[in-house]
Symmetry: C2
Amino acid sequence: MFYVSLPPKKDKNQMKREKLILITNDDGFFSRGIARLAEVMNRLGRVVIVAPQTEMSGQSHSISVVRPIKFQQVTDSPFECYAVDGTPVDCVKLAMNKILPQKPDLLVAGINHGCNASINTIYSGTMAAAFEGCAESIPSIGFSMNSHSKDVCLDYVGDYIYEIAMDVLLNGLDANTCLNVNFPVGEIKGVKVCHQARAFWREELIEDKDNSGDTVYWLNGQYHILDTSERADFNTLEDGYTSITPMQVDFTAYGVLKKYAERFDRL
Amino acid sequence: MFYVSLPPKKDKNQMKREKLILITNDDGFFSRGIARLAEVMNRLGRVVIVAPQTEMSGQSHSISVVRPIKFQQVTDSPFECYAVDGTPVDCVKLAMNKILPQKPDLLVAGINHGCNASINTIYSGTMAAAFEGCAESIPSIGFSMNSHSKDVCLDYVGDYIYEIAMDVLLNGLDANTCLNVNFPVGEIKGVKVCHQARAFWREELIEDKDNSGDTVYWLNGQYHILDTSERADFNTLEDGYTSITPMQVDFTAYGVLKKYAERFDRL
């Protein structure tokens, strides 16, 4: 336990009556990360998993516009679980409108296999699901591991996830605010609230041939960090701390609004 | 001309030597919107179009992770034009790494057939392309029409696009800042710099059957605006003004950082 001020765990059955928790991800309903997340959330309430049936990494906030989505219940899951032929954001929209009996008390996405700090936020299907929940005024949290290994140890992050989710269930989040939580691999030195590190991916495209003999290119990104602040989420994470970045679905560059109004307004 | 203080138009050949302009969109290389945008940009510099070969609306910032991308030159275009089997963000990455001779002086995306103000920003492939350019430190602008009609009149927005792009070419944009420009249909009352209107889409899923007889669902969103400010971009647009929203690729909820550090930090 890392939050010393927390109340004792609530009676499980009581929580189950009280709290409805929607779980999704972008790695697919079968991933180890979502199983671990469901295991932890099951201690806090009634868990419903609605997740993609195939891997949807890098799908960002995409939605199915030109094709319909479909889903089926996964019968051999220990949880109530639905596999969706659609993106992570499709999953949230489907859950809200067709699967859940009422608006969930909490939306959690992950545990993502791979870091979603910094610029990764905008490519991430996991964080997109959290943003979709946030836009719908559901307290929402994305959880990610700073490792792409499918075998990465997920045991030690359980207590952190439990405590952060419990805090959000008890105290809520501000309007239009969700959390982007990233865990370091191995020992956790502590937890720091951060801002999104400024960075970008520059691609080296790797040439290949497809079955028709046509030249194709694989994206192979090189990460470039532009932020030296110790409270930049990526840097915090690399230092061995869990980063918590409060986020909002608002791209407005508020710092330049006044200056740009003087420059561009024609009233 | 709506910017009275602008210098006279530069000699076309001089601009062409000076400025390299990358054009993309999410409606596809064949759309009327991108053709109109290229026509206007051709007055400002050397135009290169790198755009999806099929419609990519709603693809947001998605990238091709599990499959390679390919492209071919479009030989019957009046401009240097490449059609890409990939998303809008793939197009920018491909252009930067395989097609353009150097970093472009300007990236413009659009003209999108459909409004990209408000929460639409996060679903939009057009704005995603502008964000990708912005992350790569290219002055970037997304242009959109508040109409999904493929036949919408695009004549009257030309001068506005020209003047805004010229201003950005001459004066640049702040670091990590791009512009989201939305045009009203019909007469333009003026131009206002705005913030992103807070809103969300709530879906009504429309049941259908696929070829196998399985039940499928089409997303059918209902727009809900939560922002009454006159300077909220969606509201400005509906009032008949062109909205210019300065945007950044940073989701951090700066307003709550200190409060959340007190709540979640464990050092």
